[in-house]
Every structure is written in C-alpha cells, then in structure tokens.
Amino acid sequence: MVKDIVTYPTPPSAEYSTDVRVFDENLFALIDDLKDTIEANGLEALTAFQIKNHFNVVVVKKSDGSFLELINPRLISTKGKITTREKTAYFPGLSAEVTRYDKISVIYQDRDGNDLSLKAEGDFSILLQRKIDYTFGSSFLNKLSKEEKANFELQLEYGAEAATAQTCPTTFKRDYFKKGVMAITVAMILLFIASFFVESSLWMTQVYLYLAALVVNVGYFFYGYYEGKKYSSCTSCQIGNIIGTFVISLVKASVVLGVSYFFM
C-alpha cells in the first residue's frame, strides 16, 4: 500500500530505530508498503521511519529495478571522505552539501533473518548512509557543517528545530520570575552605590528590596516545580536545576545585602 511520506515540517516521531526481532507477515507487509511508496513517488530508497514506522528497515531500489531489503542495518567500517550535494524526500525540493564516507561496509539481515554484509562506494554508499541515519532518527541536518547548516536553515520556513522530535519547550514562564529577582538584585546594587552619595540611610529600603527578591524567588521555585511537572522529558525542568537556580539567585541577592550591611 502506498503510504504518506513524512516531510518537513512534521517533526519525526521520537520512537525509532527499534531492531526487528520477529520476521513475520507484519515485516513483509511493511517491506511491501515501502516498495509501493518508492514506486509511486519515483524514489531511490526509503526507511520505515519515513513512513511513520519505528522499525529498523531500509528498502533500496537498484538500477535494474529490483529491490534490496536491509533489516537492522549497521555501518561497520568506513574509508575515505566524500562531499556531494544531497536531496532527501524529507525536505522536498531542497539540497545540501554533505560530507560522508566514500567506502563503507554494512551488516544487515534479510527477510529470513540471515546475517549478511555488503560493501558499497560512491553514490550507493552515500545513499545507504543517509538511509541508515534515518533509521536512527536523524536527517542529514546532523551531518552538515556549521556554515552549511546555517545556509540550509535559511531555506527552511520553520527553522531546523521543527525537523527534530521536540518534546521540551525552549522558553518557560518561570523565567519571568528569574528576571524579576535579577531586576531587584540590580536595583539593590544601584541603591548600594547611591548610598555613598545620599545623606539619609537607605538600609531599610535595601532590606525591603531583599525581602521582595526572596518572595519572588520562592515564587520562582514553586512555579518552576509546577511547570516542570508538565514536561517530564525535559532535563532543564528537573528539580535539581530549579533548586540550583533558586540558590544562585538567592546567594547573589544575599551577597549584595551582606556588603550593604557593612558599608551602608
């Protein structure tokens, strides 16, 4: 059956590269779907991942029209480097300069589970490497040089981040609290400097500012903890991180208060 090919900006699933363990009708059906989809779209090769299947399967259409089926492929040895301009079905109409190995050796299994290996070079080697990357959930984005990646990103409507499986936000509301504490700490520093030019004692104001920083910081802690629970897969939401930020902010404000105590 012809399946839809996952294309940018649909993020690839975070579930991928599961080795095939059972060689049965389900696997054969998956291989048939891959072949049908290759034929229907006039492609050279496809991985199961590109049609939303998590198994580690690659099907390549050879020049004579027959198909090469690679189950659980692994890239074992490599030789030489080669840079070419590549296209992939995930980024329709786009291409990028990618550096890959020239000669490779791949081990894989056939549909009966027999262990096999093959050697490849040139275009075939490049194709296999691109496909094996997909079985591990990566498009060629991860293989681009810094400059090439920057160029490539310009062509992408939604940026490169859309092309990677995202489960963690990059901005958090709790950061407003952090900025608040920061602003108060800066105000405390300014007040401390001001105290050298002003006659009246500013010490009590400094204490109130410190208390305000403390309250906002406690707010940060509890809100951060609440927010973090919503994103369990996100390392920057771990409680350790929140405690760390809480302590750092508190220490900064306390240092300013301590210095103020002696000089104000």
């Binding site: 975070a14 579930e15 991928y16 590269s17 599961t18 080795d19 363990r21 059972v22 060689f23 998590h54 659980n72 692994r74 890239l75 074992i76 040895s77 050796s105 791949v106 081990i107 262990d115 290996s117 990357d133 591990f136 959930g137 990566s138 991860n142 981040e161 990677t164 499986a165 995202q166 489960t167 963690c168 990059t170 369990s232 897969s233 996100c234 390392t235 350790g240 991180n241 760390g244």
Partner: protein, 489 residues
C-alpha cells in the same frame, strides 16, 4: 540469632551488608567476606587513571567502618559454597581463604543462615591472548578496573604526555578488549578524559586517538542504545556519540572483537568478517567479565557448581534462562528477587547474578565469533539490588520464611549514568543520561521498549558537577557517615 554472610564488599555487597546491619544488626549477625582491605568507588577510578585523583581519594579502609557498626569482617576470598552442609552437619557454610597479611592462604569455614553472593566479576584478562594472564593485567595495555590499575595507567599516560611534549607523535587506542565485554561506559569516559588532559597539557595535536568497541553502533552502551535529549533535540545515542567523537576528533572502530594483543598492536575481527590490526603507543582495553569461579559442593561431596551457577560463573537467580532466541526475549525474563531457585537462602546481586540474556541485539561475525556487548550492571542498579535483597532477608528473618520477597527488576528500574568527558571545575564536561527501564520492555512500550519521557541525556559542565558531587556523596555514604541511609542508591 541468624547469620547473614555477604560475599563481596563492592557497591552491591556493601549496600546490602550495611543496610542489613542497620535493620537487624542488633539481634543478628552480619558477616562480610571480601578479599580487599579497601572499598573502592569504582566510577571515580577514571579520574585516578588520568592523575586527577589519587588512589586514596577513591578508596577507604573497610575494617574501621565495619568495626564501628558491628559488622563482622573477614578479609578473605570465598572458594566454595556448601549449601547443604556436609556429612557432619546440615548447616550450610562457605569456605574462605584469607588474604590478610600474616594469615594469607589460611582457610576457614563460615556457617550461614542466609548468603548473599555479591562478588562482582572476575576481570578475565586471560580471555584475550596478550591482554593478560587469568585475572592479571598484561604488559602491553593498561586498565582502570581497579584503583591500582588506574594509578598505573596514570603513570603510563604521563610518560606519553612527556614524550609528546618532546615532539613525539603518539597513538591512543581505548575501548573493549574482547567481543563479549560490557562496561563500554568506563572506556568511553576514559578516552574523553584522556582527550581533555591532552588538551590541557597542550599536546592534543600530537595524539591520534581511536576508539575500539564491540558495540554494533556507536552509542549502544550495552543497552541497545537509547534516545536522549541533547541541546533541546531528541536524538539517538548513536547520533549523539558520533557528533561527540567527531567534535573531539576521535576516530572509531565498532563491531570489533579484539582477538590478540601484542606489544604496540591489537588484532581484531569485525562483524562483517574483515580482520584488521591497529597500532598503539598507549592502550586501555576493558577485559571481559566472568564469575569469580566459586565452587558449589553438595552434602555428599559431589560438585554441584552447575546447579548453582550459570556456565559463565555467575549465580543463577529467579530469571528465565530458557528464553532462547532474540525474538523471544521479554522484560519478564529478568530477575526481580535475586533468589536462587534451588536454595532459597542464597541470593545474588550486582554483577554476580547471571543475567538471562544480553540487552543489545546479539550478533556474530560470518566466522561465528559472537561480538556484542553483554548487559551492564552499573552502580545504581547494583545498589538497588543490594538494598532489595537486604530488605527481603530482613523480612525472612523477622517475619518468618513465608514473608513475601521484595522485588527490583532491571526491566522496571531506571538507571542514571553520568559519563565524565573531562574533569575540571569550570571546563569539565560530562554526559548525563537517564534510561527507563534499563531492560527495554517491548510489551509495555511498543517501539523502542523504553519510556522516552523518562529517558534523556545532556552533556555539559553541570553533568561534571553532578558526577563530582556523586563521588563525595557515595564516599560519604559508603563510610556510613552521618545521614548515610538518606542517600539514595
């Protein structure tokens, strides 16, 4: 009064013994038999191996710690288990041979009511010709498996650094020294710590660094790889590892079984059948692990080692050893109580229990050589197992033989791993990874077999700080200092 004998005083055995003493020690006897006089926080050996810590930083004397809490300590190595006693008595016992200065070689029988086998592995250097003889490290390579080995490694490494400063180019080969190794993580940490030290010493451009491993893809780590979060992206550990190796300019050979080591040269066979050799000036190759070679003897004197132990020398526990081929492997094959099926008063934890099968996909070369990581049992799962077994034995003693056993299966257990990639307060880095569960459960989590919400990883300075804090935390805990019971495994 019951007596619990713990064989081995590593992470798992020490955890089990100290908790047992804490829970039932006032009324019962806890005995630890370990050939080492010192306890070693093994994960920090990596830092000893590059000269960033001393042997004293990562070890402490066991005797005073055990004396403080009342654990009976025998500095001896276990030779055999007599689970049915002998002709004279039905009381089971273990035969131990002293390794203590002054009484080396003297044997003694220690009777037990409950036995915990937590001997850890035998470092089987002898499995690869040239890597060593038996459990002894050979002359061509170094090791970071023990604190003494690590000290020697550091010494050799600094000789290399001096030579490079004098203008000589040097080749480094780090990885696994056999097709059936585990502990890729330790070698991974070591190669990146060396790389970091070489950069600090200003000689990185004089070194060619290469990784050699039995993994079928970079980033397998013996757990079939994992999907981790890094820099805001969800990536496979393969992509993560490859980018780290490329960034640090470390080349790699994977799917390799090192079959012979000579002076300055390692010979290997790859999964695709090709053979090759790699030259080196400095090499650290992890040896494969085996059971320590305990014997089991029945009441009538018959050798029943096969009944108690699996062929690799690890103790059989409540695992399904008949799972067969890869496609039949299930998470439920993994043990949860660590009780021996034949003798219910014997338990095994840590590396000493026999796993039902590997976690990574088993593979072999066309010549039939098995090449693939065996399952790792790192500190965190080992500690949890030790505590679980201690819980079970406490209940068996205090509540009676019918008390239900406590369970902790590696298929329901997460593990945190912090792999150091360079030590330094401000320029250190470490990759912090968490996986859940350690053993993939394909029935519960179709697809990867893991809960991707709880499997993540990140690399950076924070990871290094965590690793450093863990060092002090676990040294503190193992020395049973104030509040030790509150520190998790």
């Amino acid at each position: 009064m019951a007596r619990v004998v713990v064989l081995g005083g590593g992470v798992s055995g020490h955890t089990a013994a100290t908790f047992l003493q804490d829970w039932i020690g006032s009324n019962h006897e806890v005995v630890v038999v370990t050939p080492n006089s010192k306890w070693n926080w093994i994960p920090s050996n990596i830092w000893v191996g590059v000269g960033q810590m001393t042997k004293e930083d990562v070890t402490f004397d066991l005797a005073p710690v055990y004396e403080k809490v009342g654990i009976i300590y025998h500095q001896a190595k276990a030779l055999g288990i007599h689970p049915e006693g002998d002709k004279k008595s039905d009381k089971p016992y273990v035969v131990v041979e002293s390794t203590k200065e002054g009484s080396v070689g003297e044997t003694e029988n220690i009777e037990y009511d409950y036995l915990i086998n937590a001997t850890g592995p035998k470092l089987n250097f002898g499995a690869t010709p040239g890597l060593g003889e038996g459990t002894n490290l050979g002359e061509h390579t170094v090791s970071v498996c023990t604190a003494d080995h690590a000290e020697h490694a550091s010494h050799e490494l600094h000789k290399m650094i001096e030579a490079m400063k004098a203008g000589e180019r040097k080749k480094f080969l780090i990885g696994t020294g056999h097709g059936m190794c585990t502990c890729q993580g330790a070698a991974f940490e070591y190669i990146f710590n060396i790389e970091h030290e070489l950069r600090k010493a200003g000689v990185r451009d004089m070194a060619d660094m290469k990784w050699i491993s039995n993994e079928s893809f970079l980033g397998d780590f013996g757990v079939g790889g994992l999907h981790m979060k890094s820099m805001g992206f969800a990536v496979s550990s393969k992509i993560f590892a490859e980018s780290l190796f490329t960034e640090r300019n470390v080349d790699w050979i994977i799917g390799a079984h090192v079959n012979k080591v000579e002076s300055g040269k390692a010979h290997y066979e790859l999964l695709d059948g090709t053979k090759g050799e790699e030259e080196f000036d400095f090499s650290m190759l992890i040896p494969p692990f085996a059971g320590v070679g305990l014997k089991a003897i029945a009441k009538d004197g018959k050798d029943i080692t096969d009944t108690l132990f699996a062929p690799n020398g690890f103790l059989k526990v409540d695992a399904n050893y008949g799972a067969g081929a890869y496609e039949n492997w299930k998470a439920s094959d993994w043990p949860s109580t660590y009780q021996n099926p034949t003798y219910s008063n014997i338990f095994a934890c840590g590396i000493a229990f026999a796993p039902p099968h590997p976690i990574s996909k088993p593979m072999k070369s066309p010549a039939g050589t098995p090449i693939g990581p065996t399952p790792p049992r790192t500190g965190m799962p080992s500690g949890i197992m030790g505590k679980t077994v201690a819980h079970s034995i406490t209940d068996l003693i205090t509540k009676g033989a019918d008390a239900p056993l406590h369970k902790a299966s590696m298929a329901e257990m997460g593990a945190a791993c912090v792999a150091s990639a360079g030590k330094g307060l401000f320029n250190g880095t470490a990759a912090a990874m968490t996986i859940y569960p350690v053993v993939p459960d394909f029935e519960k989590y179709p697809g990867t077999g893991r809960d991707t919400d709880y499997t993540f990883g990140e690399i950076g300075l924070a990871g290094h700080w965590i690793k450093h804090i863990l060092h002090h935390l676990f040294m503190h805990k193992a020395q049973l200092r104030m509040g030790w019971t509150l520190i998790p495994e």
